[in-house]
């Protein structure tokens, strides 16, 4: 039994939040969709007739056709790689007695804490054909005259993107393996089946729908992925649709916004259709998407776990080596090389110095970018938590009629690729240039808050739901207004949860790249842009130093929340 009505105040709050969500989510996507069917080149041109011309171009232009093909290839490869390794690690950790489970899990989840472009940069530092440290080691060792492996290209893109999605597959598969009733495996065991046989005939089939869901999720995310393709693919001219959209926006003149809109809309439709199909065939999606939002403790030794004998050390060592080399080493490379100046030879540690940092802080752009990022992330996280906490309150603690609609709006951005959302915001605030939001920090603030609404809502709703309804009713009986109840009862009771959501959003906003690259103008750069800028201008020293600063801020935030505030930030 929850409260029947909270009167006019609740209705007003719900209307306000509803209008805000419509403004943030539906309006931009709607304007962009509509715009993609016009004949004009940009939202600034008045008029134009309705036409499918841009869509025809989007699917017939030879370069775009190649990009579509690349997108499919890239996403398929990523799914294969991430599923294979994610599944393997999840199975070993939840069904066998391999040692060092905690370390393995922590390392597997590492990509959650580092932005994808840093993983890309790190791998470039390892496998760049000229300076990559691995290449040079291999050349020396094998006596080769040229680099044996190059990260640049489709294989490299798939490899790094796959690594990046490892945690998603791992968490989802682990969750489903855990939820399999041990009795089902025990029954098979009593009938004489061995562990491998049981796994193949019982466990895996039970987990199959969930594994399929994880694969679809990774596919959808790779389809919209931007950072890794642009860092690794574009050097060799390999484009996917998201990087093509960036080309259209930044390289064509006059900018063909409408073509970008058509491509972005196509990406969104593709993602939505895939998720719908998956939902249709195997059930609900959010159940799996929600996985990152809960604090998964590391797997306990399960009943029915297969004993691997001495082999278990070998397997554990193999997994640890794989994770260390693929995830820890690249990030380590960034940090180490950031202290080398000039960056001529990665083996030459005599050039260790702080010069890169000195020039970093002498560069007005970098200073500005760090300041802007901190400001945006701080203010944005406050705003994001407020909006999502109020939304969660309305969804879970009231019975207003359109609360299902509010819920839908708040999770909708989760299926929209970042690039699509960025083009939608560009379109919207160019159309309404008189608002003065286009080209300012405001558009970034709006974009960040909107894109990560699902993460924010997921992070806040647990705290709101956990409050006993009588604690709220006791306040209502005294005559307290809704505002007072929220301020004195609900928010203070959920404060730990809200603070953890704040830190989570702070870190997510701080590293955002796919939208920032579209929406920043001169003077309002952010960290991810400063890194990209230095990178594109072949200023490796600068890129490494700014990246290290970003890693530093992220790690300090995590450490402070963990050890100072005793908060475990989950859901990154």
């Amino acid at each position: 039994m929850s409260t029947k009505r909270k009167g006019i105040q609740t209705t007003l709050l719900a209307l306000a939040i509803g209008v805000l969500l419509l403004w943030l989510v539906v309006l931009p996507l709607g304007l962009m969709f509509f715009g993609s069917f016009t004949s004009s080149h940009s939202p600034l041109e008045a008029g134009g007739v309705l036409t499918l011309e841009k869509y025809r171009l989007a699917y017939s232009d030879p370069e775009l056709r190649r990009a579509w093909w690349n997108t499919i290839l890239f996403s398929t490869g990523t799914v294969a790689f991430a599923t294979m390794f994610g599944l393997l690690i999840a199975v070993f950790l939840s069904r066998t007695d391999v040692p060092f489970r905690g370390t393995i899990e922590t390392l597997t989840l590492l990509p959650l804490a580092i932005p994808p472009y840093l993983l890309a940069i790190g791998w470039i530092m390892l496998l760049n054909p000229t300076i990559g440290i691995m290449n040079r080691a291999l050349m020396e060792w094998l006596g080769l005259r040229s680099a044996p492996i190059s990260i640049y290209g489709m294989a490299g893109m798939i490899f790094v993107e796959g690594l990046y999605h490892l945690p998603v597959v791992y968490l989802i598969v682990k969750g489903s393996l855990r939820s399999v009733d041990p009795a089902m495996e025990e029954v098979a065991s009593l009938s004489g089946a061995g562990p491998l046989y049981i796994f193949r005939r019982i466990t895996l089939p039970l987990a199959r729908p969930v594994i399929l869901a994880a694969m679809v999720l990774v596919f959808v995310r790779s389809v919209g992925s931007f950072a890794i393709p642009i860092y690794i693919g574009s050097r060799k001219g390999i484009n996917v649709i998201s990087t093509k959209i960036y080309d259209v926006i930044s390289e064509t003149f006059p900018t063909n916004y409408t073509l970008a809109a058509a491509l972005s809309a196509s990406l969104l439709v593709l993602a939505a259709l895939l998720l719908l199909a998956q939902r249709f065939f195997t059930g609900r999606v959010e159940r799996y998407q929600i996985v990152g939002g809960r604090g998964y403790s590391s797997g306990q030794f399960m009943k029915g776990a297969a004993g691997l004998g001495n082999l278990r050390f070998l397997i554990s060592g193999g997994i640890l080596t794989f994770l260390f080399v693929t995830l820890v080493l690249p990030v380590g490379m960034i940090v180490i090389t950031s202290f080398q100046s000039p960056l001529i030879d990665l083996f030459d540690f005599s050039s260790l110095s702080l010069k890169n940092y000195v020039s970093l802080f002498n560069s007005p752009l970098n200073g500005r970018a760090i300041r802007n990022s901190l400001l945006l992330s701080f203010v944005g996280a406050g705003l994001g938590v407020t909006v999502s906490a109020l939304t969660s309150y309305l969804i879970h603690r009231t019975r207003i009629r359109f609360r299902a609609g509010l819920h839908f709006l708040s999770i909708l951005p989760g299926v929209v690729p970042g690039v699509t959302l960025a083009v939608a915001f560009l379109w919207t605030y160019l159309t309404m240039k008189w608002l003065g939001i286009y080209g300012t920090l405001w558009i970034l603030l709006i974009a960040y808050v909107t894109r990560f609404l699902p993460e924010a809502t997921r992070a806040t709703q647990g705290g709101i739901q956990a409050i006993h309804s009588q604690l709220e009713e006791a306040a209502r009986i005294t005559g307290a207004s809704l505002f007072r109840i929220l301020r004195r009862i609900i928010f203070p009771l959920a404060r730990e949860n809200l603070f953890s959501a704040f830190l989570l959003l702070f870190m997510i906003y701080l590293r955002e790249f796919a939208m920032s690259i579209f929406l920043t103008a001169h003077g309002n750069e952010v960290i991810s842009m400063a890194i990209f800028d230095a990178w594109r201008n072949a200023n490796l020293e600068g890129a490494m130093a700014v990246s290290t600063v970003l890693v530093g801020i992220l790690m300090i935030t995590l450490a402070v929340s963990r050890w100072v505030f005793r908060i475990r930030v989950t859901g990154l």
Partner: protein, 362 residues
């Protein structure tokens, strides 16, 4: 003067009717209990009065003012009804101190700070928490939390206080202690109160009036004495306390007295309520402490021979379980049972304590 008036209250949850059109009143300055088993609709009724639920039929008046009506569409929100409420879970806010918890309702009223502090101290003293003012609410025992909840409900000097099973989470000893304090506080402050509980002993102790509910309806109503001793229904007789029950056939009714016959021809005289006619089967009930084992009056009626099966000592009385010609019987007595030489016990069931109910209920 009537402080609370409930008329034909109906409350539904989907297809389930929780409250089926009940009516009752609470006199100013008295405590009324809604008593009944879980699911009888007592808490729903209380929540409708509080305004935490809207009603599906009927109306509610507080101090003669209409606060909820299905027909005229009136619904005064809980915050405007001027009530105090003590919740089953205490609902003491864990992020505030004792004083902050109790001060919250005064913050809502926007009183000056000095006045608030004075009032909080006053109420704290009334509930016996004078020394715990600055204590964190989470560091309190269950009983102390209950006192905070009570103080918080009292602090605004509300017209009416609602109690939603406030003692059900406490252990037996504390429950006894707290109910004593609630009663003396209610009497000294002259509170009007509605108290919801499933514990009949608590209801008997606290109430000026009890309304007993079953399946969303009030099946008995009156002072504790009336409801206990002159239970109007078979359900009420059973719910209010232990009783002996036998199936009997009504032989004849004369001057408001029914002659009934049990198995093996045992005959009883009992007051005849309305609705009981000669020839019908009925339930004959008597409370264990009204069964006598010493007196052997001349009348051949209302007598039984018993054989002792089980003896239990409960501190302030003995409970004897006997087998008689009409079936098992329980007898409560403060003195040891007198047995005849052959070990049988002569029993007498005084007419004035026998109750007869038509056998429509199981």
């Amino acid at each position: 003067m009537v402080a609370v008036e409930v008329k034909n209250l109906v409350k539904r949850y989907g297809a389930v009717q929780a409250v089926g059109g009940i009516s009752f009143e609470i006199e100013k300055g008295t405590l009324k209990t809604l008593l009944g088993p879980s699911g009888c609709g007592k808490t729903s009724t209380l929540r409708c009065i509080a305004g935490l639920e809207d009603l599906d039929g009927g109306e509610i008046l507080l101090d003669g003012k209409l606060v909820a009506s299905q027909t005229s569409g009136v619904f005064v929100h809980p915050e405007a009804r001027g009530l105090g409420m003590v919740f089953q879970s205490y609902a003491v806010w864990p992020h505030m101190t004792v004083a902050e918890n109790i001060m919250f309702p005064l913050d809502v009223l926007g009183l000056p700070r000095m006045e608030k502090i004075k009032r909080v101290r006053e109420v704290l003293k009334q509930v016996g928490l004078g020394d715990k003012e600055e204590r964190d609410a989470t560091l309190l025992s269950g009983g102390e939390q209950q006192r905070v909840a009570l103080a918080r409900a009292l602090v605004q000097n509300p017209k009416i206080i609602l109690f939603d099973e406030p003692l059900s989470n406490l252990d037996a000893k504390l429950r006894r202690e707290m109910r004593g304090e609630i009663k003396s506080l209610q009497k000294t402050l002259g509170m009007t109160a509605l108290y919801v509980t499933h514990d009949q002993e608590e209801a008997l102790f606290l109430s000026d009036e009890i309304a007993l509910m079953e399946h969303g309806r009030i099946v008995d109503e009156g002072s504790p004495y009336e409801v206990y001793e002159n239970s109007r229904t078979f359900f009420s007789m059973n719910f209010m306390g232990q009783c002996n029950v036998w199936k009997v056939v009504v032989k004849e009714i004369r001057d408001g007295v029914a002659i009934v016959e049990g198995s093996l021809g045992a005959k009883f005289e009992s007051p005849a309520p309305r609705g009981v006619t000669a020839g019908m089967t009925a339930w004959l009930a008597v409370r264990p402490h009204h069964v006598e084992s010493f007196v052997a009056p001349a009348s051949p009626m209302n007598r039984l021979q018993g054989r002792l099966v089980l003896t239990s000592f409960l501190g302030n009385y003995f409970e004897y379980r006997l087998e008689t010609e009409v079936g098992p019987l329980i007898l409560h007595s403060q003195r040891p049972l007198a047995k005849s030489e052959d070990g049988s016990v002569s029993l007498f069931l005084p007419k004035e304590y026998l109750r007869l109910y038509p056998q429509d209920a199981p």
